[in-house]
């Protein structure tokens, strides 16, 4: 079964660790998630390029603010985790995500996030710098502070697949401190990505036959 992968930067490292080295991957930046309509277009383009050149396209995404709704491949199958977003993937289940948010909503980080933020300077700390440069530090405190105000805790999700955690911890702890959040760690898993890579597509996945569009209902339980 020939596979191709179109994935968000946040899960690509872990996905690659479960796939043979010769599987083609296309990676989009994390920051796309704030413009879901754009993301939808970019994903469709990527799907169109991969369509027909492989048996199945693995999408390293979730519902992602509805960005994946409406995506369609004509010839290849598509598989995407049945999760609202990457946090659900790394927490291992929808229920775990809901439970965690119901307990106390949190700002989540994973290794993929830290690496993504570091490489394309798109994290809240980077936003802060940008605003500070344009409008001054006080405004930056106000505006980005506003943005981060609702979050009282930062949760770093640690998976077995992650490497060199110390660097991540330093980044996460610094961010927590900057935005007045408590720093917490939670043990998570890349198991869903492993199962996706190994073709074990159970009820935690949306499997889309060629020609069908992904719908919102596919993700609701």
């Amino acid at each position: 079964m020939r596979m191709k992968v179109i994935s968000c930067r946040v899960m690509i490292d872990e996905m690659r660790s479960f796939l043979p080295a010769d599987v083609e991957t296309e990676v989009l930046e994390i920051s796309r998630h704030i413009r879901p309509k754009q993301l939808k277009q970019e994903l469709q383009s990527a799907i169109d390029r991969a369509d027909g050149t492989c048996d199945v396209i693995l999408l390293g995404y979730g519902l992602c603010s509805n960005a994946v709704v409406g995506l369609r491949a004509r010839k290849s199958r598509m598989v995407v985790p049945k999760m609202h977003d990457c946090i659900g993937v790394f927490l291992g289940s929808h229920q775990a995500y809901v439970d965690e948010m119901n307990r106390e909503p949190a700002f989540f980080l994973t290794q993929g996030y830290v690496r993504g933020y570091l490489s394309d300077h798109s994290g809240p700390a980077d936003e802060f710098e940008k605003v500070a440069q344009r409008y001054g530090k006080e405004k930056a405190e106000k505006i980005v502070g506003e943005m981060m105000r609702p979050y009282k805790r930062l949760v770093y999700i640690k998976t077995v697949q992650a490497t060199d955690l110390e660097a991540d911890r330093q980044y996460a702890a610094a961010m927590a401190s900057k935005f007045n959040m408590r720093y917490e760690e939670k043990l998570g898993t890349s198991e869903l990505l492993r199962r996706m890579a190994e073709g074990k597509w159970d009820t935690d996945f949306v499997v889309v036959e060629p020609g069908r569009e992904i719908t919102l209902e596919d993700f609701l339980r």
């Binding site: 291992g92 775990a96 439970d99 077995v160 490497t163 060199d164 110390e166 760690e185 043990l187 898993t189």
Partner: protein
């Protein structure tokens, strides 16, 4: 790597050990140490064959050996040894040879336990069997079944006031009324828990629930002898390769948690059934079960809540030992069969670690001991008999040793390169099952790095030398060609990349730093360590010499390095047959102090240093201390 000139696996070389005349046939390329082991000889007396002490010297009187490598050559040159002297841990046979081994290498007693099988010492089983000769009821002896049995037990057991479980009563009735009034009564303290025909001893089951493999042992509770043993893959693997993933799965819903519990319980039951069959035991003879495993495995088996193990501060549900009826786990054995789960020390340092400590006597021995169980998490224990300091910890070494994070890494399965060694200046490898290689497993990766260091293909910082013939520069950096596509089972090159080396550095550093930190917290120096015990499945296949040479294990000048196999299983067997061992386990869990390494800055510093590879050091520095002064000076000027 070049193809071997002498194909390992084909030529048989007969090694004769004099003066006893012990012979063994091994394949070319085998070390004398290994040959000796197989012949029942212990040729190493010091470090355990790790390449540190230089005391495994033997004399080869005839036959061909592969020439010594740089380290051995340097060592031999420094001493005034007779010609033909070789170090057994390094010397490899090239043809049939005759070897003079010192008398001290011929063993006395039980030292050669390779399988983690420790002879059962304490034997005070909780379950006792009494042979009863009963008279069937009659008109003038209409005592109840219970009274009949109790009176008989009073006479033989020497104490009174027996209880009888209803299930045992049913058992009694159906056996006795088939005409057999001579029966074995199984008892636990004051309770009658089951019956069997005479001659059928109560049997116990010891279980080590590992993340990957479950080991089950059937033990006769009267004699303490092991009747049968078997291993089986843990059925939970599809629900999570690593234990955190399984906990996450279980935390998702009560149904999922229950399903994981049921599947592991059923798996154990099936293995028990097979072991019973092969030993001609019936399951009603199983009267006691003792289980060990890491914290996660025990929580999943007992269906304990696990969500709190996933979030800080990561607390266990129950860490004390647990006693429950076997029927609670769906196991129908003797009516009163009970399951005893050993206590855990804390956090993820679980019952299996306690069992390992017991089996290897780490809590009692007079030697300063470091104990390790290497896996995705490596548990480390350091006990100083002098001060009584007893520290344990768990370091996340990551999936490198299970094949993760390395481009061509794989689990130890058919086709995995498991051993890499030098012969005549060329690197060679062997694969599991001898088939064409399709990847490298943990032990192979460690060996490979040791060899690459030895031939200076990788520097101390871990950088691949771009000038080496077998190193190519690819798109994503330098790679070492381990096996070209033509030789592999899947038609692709098997390589070791620069990133792979980094991953190994991180994994090994965690273990090294964990050990170093515990030693510092114990207040002892590496030279004080007398024993390093490596337990566990991976530990059994790991070449400790390679592990020391790459800096995964510290170089302890005065320690003996031991590989002890499944010590957790051995510990489970000890606790199975002995009340006092269970009490001992409780004490270990209480006394051992779990260290949270994250809190110590020394761990971070140690980690940073430990990612580097140690200097290539020959054995001269140690041997030098045993040499007369003048030769020492010569040696020092000649050393690297």
């Amino acid at each position: 790597m070049t193809k071997p000139e002498i194909e390992p696996g084909t030529a048989g070389c007969e090694v004769t050990f004099q003066p006893l005349g012990r012979r063994i046939v091994v394949t070319a390329g085998t070390t004398l140490l290994e040959a000796g082991r197989r012949a029942g000889l212990l040729l190493c007396g010091g470090c355990g064959g790790v390449g540190i002490c230089g005391r495994c010297r033997v004399s080869v009187s005839s036959g061909n050996m592969f020439p010594p490598d740089e380290e051995e050559r340097d060592f031999l040159a420094a001493g005034s040894y007779s010609p033909g002297t070789r170090l057994a841990c390094e010397a490899r046979v090239a043809s049939s040879v005759t070897v003079e081994a010192p008398l001290s290498s011929f063993p006395s007693g039980q030292r050669l336990q390779v399988e983690g099988d420790v002879a059962v010492t304490a034997h005070d089983p909780i379950v006792k069997a009494y042979q009863l000769q009963l008279c069937p009821p009659s008109l003038d002896d209409s005592r109840s079944d219970y009274r009949r049995v109790a009176d008989a037990l009073d006479a033989v057991a020497g104490h009174t006031d027996w209880e009888m479980l209803p299930g045992a009563a049913s058992c009694f009735s159906s056996l006795a009324r088939k005409g057999r009034w001579d029966l074995n009564a199984y008892t636990r303290r004051q309770q009658v828990i089951g019956f069997a025909n005479c001659g059928m001893n109560p049997v116990g089951v010891a279980v080590d629930v590992g993340c990957t493999k479950i080991a089950v042992y059937l033990v006769d509770l009267c004699t303490g002898a092991e009747l049968a043993a078997s291993g089986t893959p843990n059925p939970q693997i599809p629900y999570g390769e690593d234990l955190i993933s399984r906990l996450v799965y279980a935390a998702a819903s009560t149904e999922k948690a229950k399903s994981l519990a049921v599947m592991v319980r059923e798996c154990i039951l099936q293995v028990c059934a097979k072991l019973c069959d092969s030993s001609h035991i019936i399951k009603e003879q199983i009267a006691d079960i003792c289980v060990v495993g890491n914290t996660a495995m025990m929580h999943l088996l007992l269906n304990l809540p696990v969500a709190q193990l996933l979030s800080a501060p990561f607390v266990a549900s129950i860490d004390r030992d647990v006693d429950i009826p076997a029927s609670d786990l769906g196991w129908q054995f003797a009516p009163g069969a009970q399951v005893h789960v050993l206590p855990s020390i804390g956090g993820f340092v679980g019952a299996d670690h306690v069992a390992m400590i017991m089996a290897r006597n780490i809590d009692r021995c007079e030697k300063l001991t470091v104990g390790l169980d290497i896996g995705t998490n490596t548990e480390i224990v350091v006990r100083d008999p002098g001060t009584g300091s007893f520290l344990t910890t768990s370091v996340p070494s990551g999936p490198v040793f299970e094949g993760g994070h390395v481009s061509h890494g794989m689990r130890a399965a058919s086709g995995a390169i498991e051993k890499v060694y030098s012969l005549n200046g060329n690197l060679r490898y062997t694969t599991i099952d001898g088939t064409k290689p399709i990847g490298i497993c943990g032990s192979g990766t460690v060996d490979l790095l040791a060899e690459l260091r030895r031939i200076r293909c990788v520097d101390e910082r871990g950088h691949l030398s771009k000038t080496h013939a077998l190193v190519e520069s690819g798109r994503s950096g330098a790679r070492f060609l381990v096996a070209p596509a033509a030789d592999t089972g899947h038609g692709r090159d098997i390589v070791l990349t620069q990133q792979d080396i980094t991953q190994v550095q991180l994994a090994k550093a965690a273990i090294f730093a964990g050990i170093e930190t515990l030693l510092q917290l114990t207040g002892v120096s590496p030279d004080d360590v007398q024993q390093l015990v490596v337990a566990g499945a991976f530990g059994s296949y790991l070449d400790l010499r390679s592990a020391v040479s790459i800096g995964m294990l510290p170089r302890f000048q005065n320690a003996e390095y031991l590989q002890v196999g499944n010590a957790a299983g051995a510990g489970a067997k000890l606790a199975l047959v002995s009340k006092s061992e269970r009490e001992r386990a409780r004490k270990i869990a209480e006394k051992a102090k779990r260290i949270e390494l994250k809190q110590y800055a020394i761990f971070d510093r140690s980690m940073a240093r430990a990612t580097r590879f140690p200097e290539l050091r020959s054995l001269i520095s140690h041997a030098a201390s045993q040499l007369p002064v003048s030769v020492q000076d010569e040696a020092r000027s000649g050393s690297d």
